[in-house]
């Protein structure tokens, strides 16, 4: 690891913790970045649906002897485009489209895994995440995918905002609604796969949504919601990794619990009037 990461003190003084930290921070940045747009689109749980399809991809990879990240990526992108196709053609409502892929994905995953000889340790690292065993080639993949996601989101953020905020208006106004929705679906799939080894398939959607839940309480604009969500998410990753090293807890679960705790604190503080406008002033507007 390059300096200054190599010089970090306890609990990040060892190589495996430093790799986990770098990969975790990358996930901490790109997951809520995508999540903010998904929440605005009222598709908060799409990350979960795609995660279950990615699980089938992991199963396929383990059987075929291909690196599961690649098969998971292929399955997840296909599933994401499928969900978006069903949703946009109004063949099924958003959450029904999601449910179709969600259950088919997990069922296919279970069947493929049983064909391949049942659960093994490698499969569990994908289901629940295990950042502490991320190796160099996995780190390169996570950082590369994360880089692609962040650049794409920065380039498309305005048109993405317009489309997820008001799809019908965007279509009438000549914005490329179909293209933008498909790009968001593919980027979500890429994010799911890139985050899979860190927080696990079962908890990926949490990293896309929980920090945004805090961010939208703290912020008063879309832009600042993005920033707050990323700040909350990255802090949760760092604190979660440190806690899991100190107390030996499962890192993926610890990170998500901290993100949930941040939301609880922020929403209680908001209710008691610490942030934003007092309730009376808002009612007068």
């Amino acid at each position: 690891m390059p300096w200054p990461i190599s010089a970090l003190p306890y609990p990040f003084e060892l190589g495996f913790m430093q790799r986990a930290l770098v990969a975790g921070i990358a996930v901490g940045v790109f997951a809520p970045m995508i999540g903010t747009f998904l929440v605005q689109k009222r598709m908060s749980l799409i990350g979960d649906g795609i995660g279950h399809v990615a699980f089938a991809g992991v199963g396929a990879g383990l059987i075929a002897g291909i690196w599961p990240i690649w098969t998971a990526l292929a399955f997840a992108v296909g599933g994401a485009l499928g969900i978006e196709w069903l949703r946009s053609r109004r063949k099924a409502s958003g959450d029904l489209a999601l449910a179709l892929f969600f259950y088919s994905g997990i069922a296919l995953g279970v069947v493929l895994v049983s064909l391949g000889g049942g659960l093994n340790a490698s499969l569990l690292t994908y289901l629940f995440g295990q950042p502490l065993t991320v190796n160099d080639s996995e780190l390169v993949v996570i950082l590369t995918l994360g880089f692609v996601i962040v650049l794409s989101m920065l380039a498309l953020r305005r048109v993405l905002f317009a489309v997820v905020t008001d799809e019908d208006w965007s279509r009438v106004s000549g914005l490329p609604v179909g293209f933008v929705n498909n790009v968001l679906a593919v980027l979500t799939a890429v994010a799911v796969v890139a985050a899979m080894r860190i927080v696990g398939i079962l908890l990926i959607a949490a990293m896309m949504v929980l920090p945004v839940a805090s961010g939208q309480i703290l912020a008063r604009s879309f832009r600042s919601t993005l920033r707050w969500s990323i700040a909350v998410s990255v802090s949760s990753v760092i604190a979660g990794l440190a806690a899991s090293r100190i107390w030996g807890t499962a890192p993926g679960g610890t990170i998500v619990l901290i993100a949930a705790a941040v939301f609880a604190v922020v929403s209680v503080a908001r209710r008691s009037g610490v942030s934003r406008l007092p309730a009376t002033e808002e009612a007068d507007l």
């Binding site: 605005q40 498309l156 048109v159 905002f161 208006w169 009438v172 000549g174 939208q216 406008l277 507007l285």
Partner: protein, 261 residues
Amino acid sequence: MAAPERHEALGRSVAPLLEATGVSFSYGQAPVLEHVDLRVVPGEFVALVGPNGSGKSTLLKLLLGSLTPSVGEVRLFGAPPRDVKDRWRLGYVPQRPVLGSEVPATVEEIVATGRLARRGWWRPLRKEDRDAARHALESVGLAEFAERPVNELSGGQQQRAFIARAFASDPELLVLDEPIAGIDAESQRRFRDSLVHLMHDHGAGVLLVSHELSAVAGDLDRVVVLKGTVLFDGPPSRLTDEGVSLGVHREDLPLWLEGLH
């Protein structure tokens, strides 16, 4: 001065911005619209009224290109609506009481999206885009609300924000679907002023679909009454001569329509 004369005085042509000719449409076997003709020329202010179920929403979908007529033809800027390249020339205010943004979004962020199609959605917005968005906000009287989350605005203020979003691209044709349903008097006055500004100073045409015309009655060039087909198309004075008020005519318009048959 009526809009076409205003335009001839300015020496501009009056090629229609929007034109429906002999348009019929049916959902399955049930005919919704039959032989509808409608025209909006630059600088003209046209109101489209009709009772519930008269086919107003269907006609609007046909005019905007989200439906295709079974018979007849629709031309938007002289082309079939789906083939229009510069869609920013059309400003659209959809029918919606509240946006309900899940994530906080400021009025300015919403209005700025009105510039995307004009600038090219893949390009970054420049200073002139921000200026145009700011100008649009001023014209609807929301300049001091620019930094406010849209969810904190009243219904009338939100509706004005959506009108500003449509204004931001400096459109040649503005189509508004029930924009003043249930909004406060102050917002209605602002709304009227900003429409007049767009028509007189920018020469834009306006098609307003509404139940409630009292705020704009004095500015309308034509009223089109729809009930499956066009029952009336003329200046508002002729409609008021028939005893139909342009205010809250949810009650007297259906009565008048019955009298026609």
